[in-house]
Symmetry: C2
Subunit: 359 residues, 2 copies
Amino acid sequence: MSASSSSASPVASVRSAVDAELEAFCTAHRAQLLEIGAELAPAMDALEAMLAGGKRLRPTFCYWGWRGAGGAAGDPRVFRAAAALEFLQACALVHDDVIDNSDTRRGLPATHKRLAKLHADHGWNGDSEGFGQGAAVLIGDLCLAWSDEMYQASGFPLESLQRGRSPFDAMRTEVMAGQYLDTLEQVRGTESREAALRVMRYKSAKYTIERPLHLGAALAGRHEELAPVYTAYGIPLGVAFQLRDDVLGVFGDPSTTGKPAGDDLREGKRTLVVAETLARSGRADADRFRSLLGAPDLSMEAVEWMCALIESSGALDACEELVTRYSDEALAALESPALDESAREPLRELVAAATRRAH
Amino acid sequence: MSASSSSASPVASVRSAVDAELEAFCTAHRAQLLEIGAELAPAMDALEAMLAGGKRLRPTFCYWGWRGAGGAAGDPRVFRAAAALEFLQACALVHDDVIDNSDTRRGLPATHKRLAKLHADHGWNGDSEGFGQGAAVLIGDLCLAWSDEMYQASGFPLESLQRGRSPFDAMRTEVMAGQYLDTLEQVRGTESREAALRVMRYKSAKYTIERPLHLGAALAGRHEELAPVYTAYGIPLGVAFQLRDDVLGVFGDPSTTGKPAGDDLREGKRTLVVAETLARSGRADADRFRSLLGAPDLSMEAVEWMCALIESSGALDACEELVTRYSDEALAALESPALDESAREPLRELVAAATRRAH
């Protein structure tokens, strides 16, 4: 989701504080790396480039989870702990791009491509692609280690940090497990709605929304009271957010991110949109859809036919209905009296921002 | 290094306790993964297989670092904190094998090969090798996250854990930076002794010996007094250990590990042995050595010629002299009165075990 145009949006107000914390952390750690070897500069450049582009979604939910649990506005400690989640996300993206062999990320070369170019530009020995992939694995590892280092150095009392460990640890295990299952569903060519929903639950809903909210509540010392509220809000919102993303990945995103139409179809992603389409189509249509899905040279005509089937089968409507239903569920959870008043409206705005038709 | 035949050796006494802690941690985390999805079982199997084979070097140095700082014998908390280092090592090995595209590890299929076979055996869609590599990246990530989780759950007071964070964090950054520099030296075809020594310092000496000792001392609350002693012991011992390993990687290891002769020459590793040989040989010999280094189809005859040049150039003697000199340096550091008496003899034995001619 993009930041709203208002600088007082619940995303934008967190973003600048988180960006400043990330910058301070990177400045110190660049110095540490350069002391080991000046040749580490391009690796650090690549790491910072990946870190720079994020929407700070997870820190935003962590911050509002803290506020909803009565945490003070603008506490620099919570911005640091929340910023640590961006290092985890940077690891996930850098490694994802290696795993999927993606060329670009947010319109820029993926980290492994950037390092492959460094290799090629210097005319070093061996395979540029192989060097790039190896270097990207290591850069992702560094991000993962630094996520934890930044969290632990956020300045909270050690008891608060230890309370936050439970959601922090769960979040890491769940995103990696979810990512593994996603990879598995792709190669197994799964057509089950349940399998698609499970991946969305772990890879998106828990990782992006529920666990960051839990972390904020735990840091504020009110995990027990607020965890059920945040689960009731975060899981449906996270699935709705991913569904919106999946629909945009098929039909294209008319706004700034400019995802081309058919992208996810060309990649053969096994989303709920695909599962719904196959379940709702006749045998001949389903067979043709199946045979086209994941073809790297998919023509514009084929994409149009597939999009038409997604609509005519009723899959698109079913997905849009789910987005609405899940968004309403998330909004209903915000009625809880346990929630601090200061967070109610921002968390409501985040539902709208996460599920609007253009990102 | 192998455990000595005596069960009272400083390695063996730590190993069984560390193994038991790793097993308990894995049992709980397997249950966590299977609750997310039964299909995660093969990933967990692969993770445990990689974890099972280690020599527990880093936990051993962590434990004796603790004892040398006055920590109590057999404290289960230190075994747990030390065992956490094995998860870090498992991440390093799984990712290393992906980066180097190695087929085997300790005589068994590398993790990515194991997962590639799972893919092939099931006849899943797409490329088995690609699936195996992606899955191995994720399994390594899980190991890295769990390293930190196990450390933080070791049962020490939070203040002790926080004191240990400084060596723990440094160790992670240093091993990844060292690994990146190692990869870089390979592709640059570096022939400098200094570059080879720097990689040994970060990738082996600090990571395997110095930082684990520091961690033990920090957990015992005596980091300040013992860090200089452990650095004076750990850095030369770590370089000697790596040099011994490099010599065995060229001339073969007659003992149980059965590394074939010439292995490192075939891989083209830019070790100090290679740097010394090139620096000490005439131009014609050096050129021929250079042209053979890293040839995957290197003949037994070529290996023999290269080994002969390593000997006749004086490089082998120079390396053996360094092993002796660094071992003596490490032993001399153990004379420090700051060191608790209980650790002096075990740390002395570890010098011998790390540098003996057969591992």
